[in-house]
Amino acid sequence: MSGEEFVPLSLTPMLIGIFAAVACALPGNFLLLRRQALIGDAISHVVLPGIVVAFLMTGMIAAWPMMLGAAGAAIVAVILIEAIRRLGRIEPGAAMGVVFTTMFAGGVLLLEQSDTSTVHLDVEHALYGNLESLIWLDAIGWSSLFDATALAQLPVELPRMALTLVGVCLFIALFWRALKISTFDEGFARTMGIRTNLLGLGLVITAAVAAVAAFDAVGSIIVIAMFICPPAAARMMTNRLEDQIGWSVLFAVLSAVLGYVLAGYGPLWLGASDAVSAAGMIATVSGVILGVAARFGPCRSRAGAPAGI
């Protein structure tokens, strides 16, 4: 494919897909090891009331109020989950289950009881996002990357997702050591003065921000898949956290690129005429990678069971 076709039509959606996938996969590594991987699923449900409230308050369907509403709802949910988990002394999965079903139900109720139900907040857009529409029509080829006027017309999701990814990377790089220690042994981390409650909250809020930004750009399917599939596949490739992070990034990028290409051209290769959803295909590819890692990964068996003395 030539630059004239690739740059305007495929470059930006692919980059947004890659950024979104990596931004979710990075915190996903820690969430997985902390048995909190379902938080991606929880967040994609709880943003509904946030979006509805944002719409009721502003009366318009615009990106920023919706994102702020979604982020607000996600953070409320995260705090509720942590509070229920700690006060009720129950496992995180149960706390998430209670919070996200309640908030999702609240969102549906709000949607039906207000006149927002006539507004076009459709399911398909929320689930699959609209990756293919994030094109850069002002670009005429690779040279546009150096053209200020063309760059100004980049889809706004690209810088937003890139910024989110930078934020996620900064959080993980800055708190890497503390995150690792407190994920492995929370009690010990606390005796050394690490504020494990705040750190855990920081991690889920980072995940929530990544999820909301990705949700807005590419839909919830990618978010849910990327929090779990690349880190889980990566865990089966290595027994070192540092390497696991690397593998998860590789798998996230691979899913985004391969998924996008397969969605666009796969059906054509098979003789069909239409493309399929890129977001759906990206999630599918990540699932296939997980399946392959689960079957052939070098570190897929639980080593934790002590083998005698």
Binding site: R177, I181, R240, L241, G304
Partner: protein
């Protein structure tokens, strides 16, 4: 003019100031039921103390609350006469082996390096001297050959020794261990007790939550008996007696067993 709190005498204050770990009025509840009720403890410096009591008596909970791992309802904890938060660097803690997931993707040496967190800080680089220190701690517990192993490949006793090596890396003055001998092999038990005795010889203070009454006399200088409330505290000769054991364990130990244990 000095003002003293009515219930704590000047003499007791002096005792608290010298003690590596002093606890006053510590109460912890799980739900409605108190797990630890109004416990006082004064650990003697440079000695080995066993915390003993029946299952569910609040031994581990007391230790965790004293370290701020679980929130107490009330109580005052002082470490070397200062508040806990100021003295974190002087404390090393060995949690129960079963409290962590040994499938965590990391190597033995990395676990020991975690003990250097306060020294390294959030972003400090791990240098050659840090690695050498971690290796030295592993050698001291006889695990030098296992540095590069994934922790999930270790036996229970080896895991326990790695935890002890991590505590050694902390370079503390007060060592608190939660059931370090639970489910370990005889060789590990011997290795751990010899390391703990060498710590005592170096002037460090060691406190161990202990479940095996048969080894108390052999291993420890002092005992602290707890069954939700403090039952007895003092030297093994004073506090590890038929009467105190009967009070702590109630009917759970046969009289003949108690006679055999408390033969001091």
């Amino acid at each position: 003019m000095t003002v003293t709190l009515a219930n704590i005498s000047a003499e007791e204050e002096a005792c608290i100031a010298k003690s590596p770990l002093s606890i006053r009025g510590l109460t912890v509840t799980y739900g409605e039921k108190p797990a630890v009720f109004s416990v006082d403890m004064t650990v003697q410096p440079g000695q080995m103390t066993a915390i003993i009591g029946p299952n569910g008596a609040g031994k581990s909970t007391m230790l965790k609350a004293a370290l701020g791992i679980v929130p107490p309802v009330s109580g005052r904890v002082q470490v070397f006469g200062r508040p806990l938060e100021e003295q974190r660097a002087r404390i090393a803690y060995v949690p129960q082996r079963a409290s962590v997931d040994w499938d965590f993707p990391t190597r033995v040496i990395d676990v020991v390096l975690m003990g250097l967190y306060r020294e390294l800080g959030l972003l400090g680089r791990i240098g050659r001297s840090h690695r050498a220190k971690a290796m030295d701690c592993l050698e001291r517990v006889g695990m030098g050959d296992f540095a590069e192993r994934q922790i999930g490949q270790l036996s229970g006793g080896q895991q326990q020794r790695v935890f002890l090596a991590r505590a050694l890396a902390q370079g503390a003055d007060l060592y608190l261990l939660d059931e370090p001998f639970a489910g370990v092999d005889a060789a590990t038990e011997k290795a751990i007790i010899s390391v703990l005795k060498s710590l005592r010889e170096a002037g460090k203070t060691v406190v161990v939550v202990h479940h095996d009454l048969a080894t108390v006399v052999e291993y420890f200088d002092n005992v602290f008996l707890i069954n939700t409330r403090r039952v007895a505290e003092g030297t093994v000769a004073e506090a590890f007696t038929e009467a105190t054991l009967q009070a702590a364990y109630g009917g759970r130990l046969a009289t003949t067993q108690i006679d055999k244990l408390a033969r001091v």
